[in-house]
Amino acid sequence: MKISLRQIAAVTATAAILLTGTTACNRNTAASGTDKVVLALSTLNNPFFVEVRDGAQAAAKEAGINLEVVDAQNDSATQANQLATAATGSAKVVIVNPVDSDASGTSVKALNAASIPVIGVDRTVNGADLASFVASDNVAGGKQAAVELAKSMNEKGSIIILQGVSGTSASRDRGAGFEEGLKAYPGITVAAKQTAGFDRATALDVTTNLLQANPNVTGVFAENDEMALGAIQALGTKAGTSVKVVGFDGTTDGLAAIKDGKLVATIAQQPAKLGQLAIQLAAKIIKGESVEATVPVEVVSVTKANVADYLK
């Protein structure tokens, strides 16, 4: 089973490289003398990163950049090899979405030594220099979530916050942004703040427990959609009517819950934009322009009004 899966993965990866190779050739004939950029992705086995690639490819076509995409299949060793290859090749800029922030440090250092600028996407690189880092703005997303929840609650009432895995940056940033955003609404008080580990089943239990101690809450903010869906399960018929729930991520199930009216809003990331911005930054670097050290990509609030644009 394992071997055959690996084989499938290998074939897919080869096909992907061949495909990008051929498109690159096409582009070479279209725009002559293009600069080469390598995009090293952690995996293409996740729709999120497929969209990052699509966004990057579209932007590369526009900027006349010869883009080579490599997929590490979530294996740090594979990615190290791919980055080593990029360091010895003709790449002007390397864009890396590390499998692991710590493990990629050594490979990126080698690129630094070869004076090839490196741009990080979605996850940062520890222990090496990045020319720029592009990632979703989780703090701003948290603030937007506060706005959406406050709007749906008419700016008054008490709420429960379901936190993600303690100590993760996603949980920290989303939580901090949300509390920052909530300061604008003095009518809303936080009745309880508990972790549910980004997990739907845990959120179901934690929400049920919290509702015992706080039966009068009228709002729930969950730091991801999975927990929001667990809270909705716990709330039953109250979800979307007397208690408003806001999630984060814009997953398929989350968007469906918005359509059903059980989830008020979710904060969706824009993976294609991550890829697009990374390429635009690479183009700037090639032209010798200076770039900012971190480029946050705004996240969008999805509500019933615009959910149709996101449901695929």
């Binding site: 089973m1 508990q194 739907r200 089943a201 179901l204 427990n209 919290l210 015992q212 101690a213």
Partner: protein, 323 residues
């Protein structure tokens, strides 16, 4: 006169014995008393019902684990097996359009089969059960991800019914009580159950006295797999969806429940009632920490300390009894 004295002394003796045998229960009562004093929301009808529902998954998992631990083994794969069973059930229901009841039974059979594989590898493959089931923990979780493609799948309505209500009574509580009775009967009233104690107490002695030790081990792991599947279906039923990451880490809760309940990891000791109390201790702590709104960082510390205390009290009591 003399009979009365004997009766009185026997009664006194029984009370002491009861306390000595039920350290976990004493711990649970102290915990409940503390929470009752700390928050008015703890001892209410709806909250007790919540605790009943929330304990169902862990307790059913832990009942299966009790068989394994009594027989001197350990099963680290139960969380993954729970997820795989629920996923197979939902996947068959959504993917190939089988009826809900068949999907439900297919989930249970999946757990049973995976458990039997654990047993075969451990009994005939001579792998320590720790290693055999550690491997299965990874394999079963991997298979869950493969068949689900990493996404949640909707459960069959028959499975969702397991997580719903039968009249005013929540189904998880009914399933919990039924499995407790069945597990207790199996362990106490059948030759198979008594053989588990024999195998766990001293496998070599059990073999020499003519017990089919290997076959018993296979059945024990099969039962653990079956109970894990039931727990997985309960959990999925409550969420109306089988989650690829469901029940991750639940094996540790199950082991903790069994050990808090007075079982020995060396085998040959353990009771279903003790395990049930152990599972309640874990769930009541989490419920209480939520009600008291304790910061998430401290919760893990508190849970660890309470587990150590609960087992510690039990060990102390056993010592005083023996002295």
């Amino acid at each position: 006169m003399s009979t009365a004295t004997i009766d009185a002394s026997r009664r006194r003796f029984d009370v002491k014995r009861f306390l000595a045998n039920n350290g976990a229960l004493v711990g649970l009562l102290i915990l409940c008393l503390g929470l009752f004093i700390a928050t008015p929301d703890f001892l209410t009808g709806p909250n007790l019902l919540n605790i009943g529902i929330q304990v169902s998954t862990v307790a059913v998992l832990a009942f299966g684990m009790t068989f394994v631990i009594v027989a001197g083994g350990i099963d680290l794969s139960v969380g993954s097996v729970a997820a795989l069973s629920a996923m197979v059930s939902s996947w068959l229901y959504v993917g190939s359009g089988v009826s809900g009841w068949i999907a439900l039974i297919a989930g249970l059979v999946t757990g049973l089969l995976v458990g039997v594989v654990n047993g075969l590898v451990s009994a005939y493959g001579k792998l320590p059960s720790f290693i055999a089931t550690l491997a299965m923990l990874s394999v079963a979780r991997g298979l869950t991800l493969v068949i689900s493609d990493g996404r949640p799948i909707k459960t069959a309505p028959e499975v969702s019914f397991l997580g719903g209500n039968l009249g005013p009574i929540p189904m998880p509580i009914i399933v919990l009580v039924a499995s407790a009775i069945i597990a207790s009967f199996l362990l106490n009233r059948t030759v198979l159950g008594r053989s588990m104690y024999a195998v766990g107490g001293n496998a070599e002695a059990a073999r020499l006295s003519g017990l089919p030790v290997k076959r018993i081990v296979v059945i024990v792991f099969g039962l653990a797999g079956l109970f894990a599947a039931l727990a997985g279906l309960l959990l999925a039923g409550r969420l109306d969806s089988a989650q690829p990451q469901a029940a991750a880490g639940y094996e540790l809760d199950a082991i903790a429940a069994v050990v808090i309940g007075g079982a020995s990891l060396a085998g040959g000791l353990g009771r279903i009632s003790g395990t049930f109390v152990g599972a309640l201790v874990l769930v009541v702590i989490r419920n209480g920490l939520n009600l008291l709104n304790v910061t998430s960082f401290w919760q893990q510390v508190v849970i660890g300390v309470v587990i150590a205390l609960a087992v510690g009290i039990d060990v102390l009591r056993r010592k005083t009894r023996n002295a």
